[in-house]
Amino acid sequence: MKSIHKLILTISVGVGTLVTSCQKLNIPPTNIFTPNIIYDSEAGVKSFLATIYRNLPIEDFKYRPDGGEDVDVNGIHYSHPGFNPGNPWMNFYTSASVTGEEVGPFGGMDIGAGFGFWPYGDIRNVNTLIAELPKHAAALTQAKVDALLGEAHFLRAYYYFGMAKRYGGVPIITVPQDPAAPISQLQVHRDKEEATWDFIGAELDLGYKMMPETNDAGRANRYAAAALKSRAMLYAACVAKYGSVNFVDGPAHSQGLAGIPAAKANTYFQAAYDAAKLLEGHYSLYTANSDKVQNFADVFLKSGSPENIFIKQYSIANNTAHSWDATMSPRYMTANALSRAYPTLDLVQLWGDLPVTNSDGTPRRFNDRSELMQGVEPRLLATVYFPGATLRGLTFDMQRGIYPSFSGTAAAEVAKQPNSRLYILSGDTKTLYQGKQVIGFTGPWTGGDELTRTGFYVRKYVDYNKPQASVDLYRSEQPWIDLRYGEILLNRAEAAMELGNAGDALTSVNLIRSRAGATPYGSIDLDKVRKERRMELAFENQYYWDLKRWRIADVVLDRAHFKGLMPYYVFNENKYIFLAEPELYNREYTFQKQFYYEPIPSGEIGKNPNLLPNNPNY
């Protein structure tokens, strides 16, 4: 009897369990975002795009070409991220300060081997977006889907361009990889360099075709795709033309992973030219102010400029503001922090020699330092702060020291050993010589590098309207102009020149020169085009890549030392003189030939040996 009871009990429990367990667990998880939540609304897609844009390899104010400090974002650790680094206030770690545009905190050519940039995580995000969007045409409309797809192709090209100019050929991955796939499928081989650039070109063509004419500020429109294409194809063309002459041999070169056949050069030059031409009539140089100096300074500060094609924005409220103003000018003119990167005399002399020496070799005497700026091209004055210039009501009073009296030639004086020069120097700005301050509040001095080492300061992008009290770290919001029409005209001029179309190159360069306040050229050659580019785009993180793609970095930066222009006060004459001397740290910069390509990161080779052979000499 008892056993029957037990049996009944057991059966009922069993049946009960079976009946209740057959409820299907069919509710969507409430704690994760499903694809529909992201892709069915424009707001959802925008939030996804924000991450992709944030990580885009834009070489802006905060970019650290040496990789910078590690950082954690949303619990993910990034070591030497380069873009969006930790403690991103040190905006003086510029690539300009290893190329001789500036001298700065780097001890030499510290950025040649890169920092292991390998953005396949971000590329996966774009690939996911491209795979998902077409499934949501009903919710988003087909037109919206096409526009967003075009934007995604632009973004993917941007990431691949960031890699191609560093590594040459890289694995082209266009669909999100399945982590469960066999490892042989996940360990993808490198594609050829040529294929990588062709892919970038094709992606940007899709971007141009599918994107609208306009977009939100900070997002790409179709012309951003064309502009980037002109930049990328010019790079590829130069790799083909100059990289096939000056190269380091090795398996990666002979297999086409690092290097492009010379025969492809003209195809790429033509693609660069055609892409640049697409912007004609849609963008123009900024010329709102008739004062040419003020106008060129405002190119980098005024919103709504018809020159801006693609910008990156910053916000104090969102904790993304940069520190350009606080780290490019001396503490004397700011509320906090310090500067460490200074324009060289070598850069300034691109515009021609300054009239600091008389015909007999003696230094010219100036009543006031600011007289040096007379007759200087407006664009240069808007790019570099000269001795005697003013900012926020204060004067750049650069003075290296005092000569009680001065005789002889400038060359003879500079050639002397320092201890036999009869000048008075000082380790601080407080020291007086017969009641006269020995060194300026703005330097130069050798006690540290927070005052100029060259006699100049950077002016480009410095917001002169900001009151001194608010010039602090993480308080600068002026956007980085990543693509501007000025560059596109120079891309076009260079491509035209390489294709033998000098007339077109002359027209483009003279547009630039007129706006700059320079005398237009009557004739043109490739050297003039390249020099115009250096002058127009100084400090915009272009010249490092220009040196690389022209394959002249190992010649220009061969045990190179750079110069400054040191102002001195001659006491008995009550005059100023300027002497061209080595910058005060007299550092040496040598670009090794292997740096034309960076090494594939060793950690990635460890995960995927198919990335071998590494680039030559690594």
């Binding site: 380091v248 041999d249 190992d554 061969d558 045990r559 090794q592 030939k593 292997q594 060793s602 080779i605 460890g606 040996p609 071998l612 030559p616 000499n617 690594y618």
Partner: protein
Amino acid sequence: MKNLIGRILVGIAILASSACTKTDNYDGPNASLQGNILSSEGGNLLTSGGSTTIKLQQIGWTTPQTIPSKFDGTYEDSKLFKGGYKIVPTGGAFWPVLDTVTVNIGQGTKHDFTVTPYIVIKNFTHTLTGTTLTLTFDIDAPIIAGLPTIKDVQPYVNTTKLVGTGASIRDFSDLNAKTINKAFIDMSAAEKSITLTVSNLIPGRTFFVRVGVRLSDSFNSSNFSEIVQVDIPKS
């Protein structure tokens, strides 16, 4: 209470004894590799800092490591892991060695390489007049066809026996360089006979001096002369 403490101690003892039973049986880096980099023109290839290195790649690993050569053209690394390595000399002013050698490195392994230098410096002389040092030498090339362009020639002056690129006094060395930028085949006999001068050397000091010829190969590398000692008399 005593009982509890006893039990805890027993527990700790058990944990301690069971925790570290496995010993590291992997050999330390106790293998070594050394040898000479011989010049095909006789003797060792004279090198400098930042010049010739021996590149090693352990088989089964992806990241290569390097052994820098010493100035006399020898090299040694006594802290390597035992195993098979692919090795090749690179980075110096010699015709590229394309065949990597596979060597099984154990304790006291020796391996010599023979390389063909780009340029050989011959008849190197030095004459001191007052504080001015005059250096003369001739340059020759074992193989002329395809030789990289010669960039420049220069003296290297230092106060120690370690003298060469990256180890020299700039004012006496780099600033006395002579630019050539010419292919060897286009140089006349007179141009191949070179004189360099170093002036204003400091009286009462000893300097170590050599000369170098720099080429525009993949490394902008230099061939070097031997190192001579120069004593500047007190004035």
